[in-house]
Structure formats: structure tokens, C-alpha cells
């Protein structure tokens, strides 16, 4: 009897230990994510403008309904999606090419892999300031090089008009996000056994055939993860907009992240700002779920 009762008691104490060990993490997550999230939900259901203290009022879903009928939501949403799609495509294509290159054996591969991490190590605001200098219309390096190469005849203000502002914003954003995507894809490439390629070569498969029928299908789960990650990051973009364009010119780069900032910290309307933040969160979560379902379906087929 003693042996029977000793077992469950030991399991209980292990369970308690697990709870105790995870409690600090749970507390931190609760205080830094769940509490702010709850406050944001609360604010989004209220009229809450800091410039009008004492006039806070519960208004239910009115903020949400107002946004859904407002061009100040749909315009930035369109800009956000344009930016996100452009960014993800650039990041995916470049990081895939770099990962394929770094997966090959060649002298200096280790150094190149280490160098790849440099952009990733730079804080995103510093990255934005770097690009602000590079693209400066009076003394920017990009203008100087383009002029020397004869691509342009005079310095250009690429951040001053569409579509060049969006193109350069995507390039500047992609530059710092490519390393993470490359590392993920590289780790995916290294899980593909060499003997599959060797068999394909014996069967006479060329480079393109090996990529299309071996690399790509086996890399698809990792590609899906990269797409999900990068899409979520891009939908939430803010810092690079803040430094490079401030949503301009003429609202051309006014993404939802910037609109949230404008409503909340410039107009001081925390109710409106929180509700649009919730809408962005819902859109991001929805897209993540859709991608996840596709990923899961792909796995099941395999």
C-alpha cells in the first residue's frame, strides 16, 4: 500500500515544482503582456481623450464601428498590406538566395555567416537612422554612388514621392530582417539529407530540378514559418516609418502602426488609438492563423 501511495504523491510534488518554476515567467508575461493588453481592450471600449480629463465614458464598440467606416483606417490598412507584401517578398527571395549560397561549401563561409548577423544586431531605430543618412537628398551615399554610375543626373529625394519612398522603405526594412530569415532557411536546408541530392544527381537531375523537386518541397515548412514571422513583423511596422518618413509624404507611408501612434500619442485619443491597435492585432492574428492552417495542411499531405 505504501508503494501505491508514494507514486502519486511524488508526481504531485513534481507538478507543484513545475508550477513554482514557471510562476516567475507566468507573472512576468502576465504583467508585461496580459495586463497592458487588458488595459488596451478596456480603453478601446471607452471615449478616453487625455486632453479632456473627467469626460471618460464607456461607449461599447463605437470606436470600432467608427474606424470601420473611416478612410483613416482603410487607407493606412491598404498601405500596411502593400508594405507587408513587398517586404515579405523581398525578404523571402533574398534570404532564400543567401541561404542557398551559405549552404554550399566554400572558403570563408564561416566569416560570411558571421557577417550576416551584423544587420540583425543593429537596433532597428539605428538601422533607420543609417538609411536616413544613406538616402539624404543632399549628401546621401546612395545618391553619390548612383550619380557616379550615371544612373541619375542629379541628386534625388527618393523619400519625397511615390513610388520611390515605398520601394526604399521596403529595402531599408528588409535589410535588417533578411539575416533572421536567412538563418531560419539555412537551418531548414541543413536538415535535408545529402543522399537525396546525390541520388538525384545520379538520376541526371540538374540544379533547377533539384531545387524544384527536392529543396523547395522539403524547405516548405520552414518557408511557411518565415512567411508567418515576417508578415507579422511587417504588419506591425512602426520604427522605420517614425524615423524615415513620419507617414509622409502626403500620407503615402501612413501605415496602421503610425496611425495608432498618431491617434494615441499625438492626438492623445487613447480610446481611438487602442481600438485601431486591437483591429491591427486581430488582422495580424487572423493572418497568422490562416498561414498556420496552410502549414499544418502541408505537413499532413507530406
Amino acid at each position: 500500500m505504501q508503494a501505491d501511495t508514494a507514486g502519486p504523491r511524488k508526481e504531485m510534488s513534481q507538478g507543484m515544482l513545475a508550477v513554482l518554476f514557471s510562476a516567475p515567467a507566468v507573472l512576468i508575461i502576465a504583467s508585461t503582456i496580459l495586463v497592458p493588453f487588458g488595459i488596451a481592450v478596456f480603453l478601446s471600449l471607452h471615449r478616453w481623450n487625455l486632453k479632456r480629463p473627467g469626460r471618460e465614458k464607456f461607449i461599447g464598440l463605437e470606436n470600432y464601428i467608427d474606424w470601420l467606416g473611416d478612410s483613416d483606417f482603410w487607407g493606412p490598412l491598404q498601405t500596411t498590406i502593400t508594405f507587408a507584401i513587398g517586404s515579405v517578398v523581398v525578404i523571402l527571395v533574398v534570404s532564400l538566395l543567401v541561404a542557398l549560397l551559405l549552404n554550399e561549401e566554400f572558403p570563408g563561409r564561416g566569416v560570411l555567416r558571421a557577417m550576416l548577423l551584423i544587420p540583425w544586431a543593429i537596433p532597428s531605430v539605428v538601422n533607420a537612422l543609417l538609411w536616413k543618412w544613406l538616402l539624404n537628398p543632399q549628401y546621401g551615399l546612395v545618391n553619390a554612388v548612383a550619380l557616379e554610375l550615371g544612373i541619375i543626373t542629379e541628386y534625388q529625394n527618393v523619400l519625397g514621392s511615390m513610388p520611390s519612398v515605398m520601394i526604399w522603405l521596403i529595402i531599408a526594412y528588409a535589410w535588417i530582417h533578411i539575416p533572421l530569415a536567412t538563418l531560419l532557411l539555412l537551418s531548414g536546408l541543413q536538415t535535408i539529407p545529402d543522399d537525396i541530392y546525390e541520388s538525384a544527381i545520379v538520376d541526371g537531375a540538374g540544379i533547377w530540378q533539384r531545387f524544384a523537386f527536392i529543396t523547395f518541397p522539403l524547405l516548405r515548412p520552414m518557408l511557411s514559418i518565415v512567411i508567418i514571422f515576417e508578415m507579422i513583423f511587417a504588419l506591425k511596422v512602426f520604427d522605420i516609418i517614425f524615423v524615415l518618413t513620419a507617414g509622409g509624404p502626403a500620407n503615402a507611408t501612413n501605415v496602421l502602426g503610425w496611425q495608432i501612434y498618431t491617434e494615441t500619442f499625438r492626438k492623445l485619443d487613447f480610446g481611438a488609438g487602442s481600438s485601431i491597435a486591437m483591429l491591427l492585432g486581430a488582422i495580424t492574428l487572423g493572418l497568422a492563423i490562416i498561414f498556420y492552417v496552410f502549414l499544418d495542411r502541408g505537413r499532413q499531405v507530406e
Binding site: K51, G247, N251, F265, R266
Partner: protein, 428 residues
């Protein structure tokens, strides 16, 4: 068991944590503002400590983000005692109860008696005065005289059309690619202010005295101002970076720009050989007008105010008096220092009589022209309603679109007028 090395590292980290927390508990006065000449501000605070015995430190935020950072600080309850305030958001901060009036405080009446009524009005909200001036001045025209001379131009432009013609001559002569820079970037210190300058210099205003919008009326000065910007950009004489650049003064200092409207004190740095390649060439002139209107401009004031979060209002008021008024020896020490060393505009009447100040100014700006420019200054009372900033923020994108020709000007201006009226109705 922890090894002794790990234990030492942990103890060191713990000590650092406790130490930094203790440092953060410093109970001196805290002044916040934008980071202009931080060393000088710190020196001034040192003098304040010597004279009054209170410790004081300066904790600035970046200029372009100052309002946003301060709002976050106010909401979070950060205990700043004294803050710089721009007149453009004085009403907003006063209405929200983030800053305190100085009306009635001991010594306030005497200091206010030295100030012009116009400055007091610009520091007031609903009948209460909210601080003492840090600096004040007017917007004026700065131009590179060497560029004009090289292009064979005898005198700076008197009308906006003439400015376009001169700019074309300078461009054609290969002196500068884009002779005119107009600050029409998104942001609180840029587009609206430039539009107000261009409008005032055509004899107009954005709003009438009852705060009704005027800009949407076809043929209005404000409408023509936007047309002029579009024309200049299309001609290639206005720098397209006007829409994005946040530090145009550097262009004049580098000699790559000929005409800019600017704050009066900026000319001191532009004519300082250590800061400017065009030192000595940058002159001030009246902001151009039209055939009927000679010029137009607006004045501004930056002030020191006591925040509502201060734990020691008496000490904070003492600091405001020291910074914006007189020190313990009874002289306007800080305002005079700003005027002498950095050319910042001042308001107290006794400084106008100060020979040292008068001689200093004439070294980098024509004081007679500056004085004449200030006579053309218009008041902008519409900026002192708490919903102005909401309207202004929403105006940047549409106005840029109208200037670039990406949107119909009439429609943009009509929409902005409607937006103003909606906000006004909501607030009133």
C-alpha cells in the same frame, strides 16, 4: 550550490541594481525641455544651485518628439518640476491640467510688468498666465547674399513671384540646384508654420478672429500660398526635400540653399564660421509679400512652466523665476546669456536698453530690418484652442498631397475646413 565566483557576480549585479535605484531616487528639481545647448543649461542650473541651494538637473527629450514624450511623461506621472512649453501646445497642456498657472504667485506681477502684453497673451490660457519666457521672436527671411551677387541680383526679393524669378536665375547660373527651401514636412514645427508665413505675407490669415476658417475660400491668401508652393516645386526651384528634411538650416550653412524663412536667432549660427561654411553671407530681409502687401510674419514664444507633478511648487517657481526672469542678484542673467551667446530673442524690457545686448545682436543680423519685420507680425489666437493640434496633425498629409498636385486643392481645403468645424462643435 552556487560557486563563489557566481555568488560574487550575483552580488555585484544586485549592488548595481540597488545603486541605480538609489540614484534614480535623487530628490533635486528636474527641468525638462528639448536638448538645445545642454551644457549651457546645466551651467545655468549650477548657478541656480549656488544661489538658492536647491539641486537641479536637466533631463531633455529630442526636440521633434518633445510634445509626444512629454505627454507620455505627464500621463505616467513622471515628476518633472519645470518644463519648456511651446506656445503652440500651451492650450492643450493647460486644458489637460498638466501645467500650473503662475498668476498670483509671489513676484510674478513684478516680472510680468517687464514683458510686452503680446508675449503675456501668448503665454496665457483662459485668463491665466502659465510661465515666463525662455525666448521669443519672429519668423524672417534668411538669404545667401553671395549667391545673389554671383547671379547678378542686386537685392533680395520683395514679392514671392520675384523670389521664384531670382531662384530661377540662380539655378540657371549653376550656383545652387534648388535655391528655395520651404519647410513643408509633416510635423508640428514645419508645414503649418510655413503655410501661416506664406499666408500672412499675402495679407491673409488661416482663420478669422472668431476662429472661422478662411483658407478654403477660392482666391484666399492661404489658397494662393499653396499654389505658389506647387509652382515652385514644378519649376524645380523649390527643393523637393522641403517635404522631408527636418533640419533645413544646415543647407543654408552649407551654402547649398539660397532662400529660407527661419526663426530670427537661427541667423547667429548660420553666420558663425565654426558652424557655417556660408558665415558672413547669410543676411536677413523682410519676408516677401505681393504687389499690394509688403510683408507678413508671426511671432512665437517658448516658456518655462511649472508642471502639475512637481512635489515642491515653491522651489519650482523659484527655478522658473531664475530661468525666465531675474536671478538672486536681481538681473535677467539667463535671458541675457541666451541673447548674448546664442542670439535667442528676449522679452524683458530692461534687456532692450542693455548696451552689451544691442551690440552683440548687430554682429549677425540687421536689427533694424528685424525690428521692421516684427511690425508685420500677425497674432494667431486660433492656435490657443485645445483642438488645434488635432486639426493640425490631420492636415499634414492632405496639405502635402495638395501641394504635390496629388489631390484637388479645393477639395482638400474644403475637407480641412469641415474637419475644423466638426472638432470645434465637438469641443464647444
Amino acid at each position: 550550490m552556487l560557486s563563489s565566483k557566481k555568488l560574487i557576480v550575483l552580488l555585484a549585479l544586485f549592488t548595481l541594481l540597488i545603486g541605480s535605484a538609489a540614484m534614480a531616487q535623487d530628490d533635486g528639481l528636474k527641468l525638462t525641455g528639448w536638448p538645445y545647448q545642454v551644457d549651457v543649461v546645466t551651467e545655468n542650473l549650477g548657478r541656480f544651485t549656488d544661489q538658492y541651494g536647491w539641486d537641479a538637473e536637466f533631463l531633455p527629450f529630442p526636440s521633434n518628439e518633445y510634445r509626444d514624450k512629454m505627454v507620455a511623461s505627464f500621463v505616467a506621472g513622471t515628476e518633472f518640476d519645470v518644463a519648456y512649453v511651446r506656445d503652440s501646445y500651451l492650450a492643450e497642456w493647460a486644458a489637460a491640467g498638466w501645467i500650473q498657472p503662475i498668476t498670483g504667485l509671489e513676484g510674478a506681477e513684478e516680472l510680468l510688468a517687464d514683458l510686452p502684453q503680446g508675449i503675456i497673451d501668448q503665454m496665457s490660457f483662459e485668463g491665466e498666465v502659465y510661465g515666463l519666457p525662455y525666448y521669443s521672436g519672429v519668423q524672417t527671411l534668411a538669404y545667401n547674399a553671395a549667391h545673389l551677387e554671383a547671379a547678378g541680383i542686386m537685392s533680395p526679393p520683395e514679392t514671392w513671384d520675384e523670389m521664384l524669378q531670382q531662384a530661377q536665375m540662380i539655378k540657371d547660373a549653376g550656383i545652387v540646384e534648388y535655391p528655395i527651401f520651404m519647410s513643408v514636412r509633416s510635423g508640428e514645427n514645419y508645414l503649418l508654420r510655413e503655410w501661416e508665413t506664406l499666408t500672412a505675407a499675402r495679407g491673409g490669415k488661416l482663420f478669422d478672429d472668431d476662429f472661422n476658417p478662411l483658407f478654403q475660400e477660392e482666391g484666399s491668401a492661404a489658397w494662393e500660398a499653396l499654389d505658389w508652393l506647387t509652382t515652385g516645386l514644378d519649376m524645380g526651384v523649390i527643393d523637393p526635400a522641403s517635404l522631408t528634411n527636418d533640419d533645413p538650416g544646415l543647407l543654408l550653412a552649407a551654402g547649398t540653399s539660397t532662400f529660407q524663412t527661419t526663426t530670427d536667432y537661427a541667423l547667429k549660427a548660420m553666420n558663425d564660421p565654426e558652424q557655417s561654411m556660408a558665415a558672413g553671407d547669410i543676411k536677413n530681409a523682410l519676408i516677401p509679400g505681393t504687389d499690394e502687401v509688403r510683408s507678413g510674419t508671426w511671432g512665437y514664444v517658448r516658456l518655462y512652466a511649472i508642471t502639475n507633478n512637481t512635489q515642491d511648487k515653491d522651489a519650482a517657481w523659484q527655478l522658473v523665476q531664475f530661468l525666465g526672469g531675474k536671478d538672486a542678484t536681481g538681473v535677467y542673467y539667463v535671458p541675457k546669456r541666451w541673447a548674448l551667446e546664442f542670439g535667442l530673442g528676449f522679452s524683458p524690457a530692461p534687456l532692450y536698453e542693455d548696451e552689451e545686448v544691442r551690440n552683440s545682436i548687430s554682429g549677425w543680423i540687421d536689427p533694424d530690418l528685424l525690428s521692421e519685420q516684427s511690425e508685420y507680425a500677425i497674432s494667431r489666437p486660433y492656435r490657443f484652442v485645445p483642438y488645434f493640434s488635432d486639426w493640425e496633425i490631420g492636415s499634414w498629409g492632405p496639405l502635402q498631397a495638395a501641394i504635390l498636385g496629388d489631390a484637388d486643392k479645393g477639395q482638400v481645403l474644403a475637407d480641412l475646413a469641415e474637419e475644423w468645424n466638426d472638432l470645434r462643435e465637438e469641443w464647444e
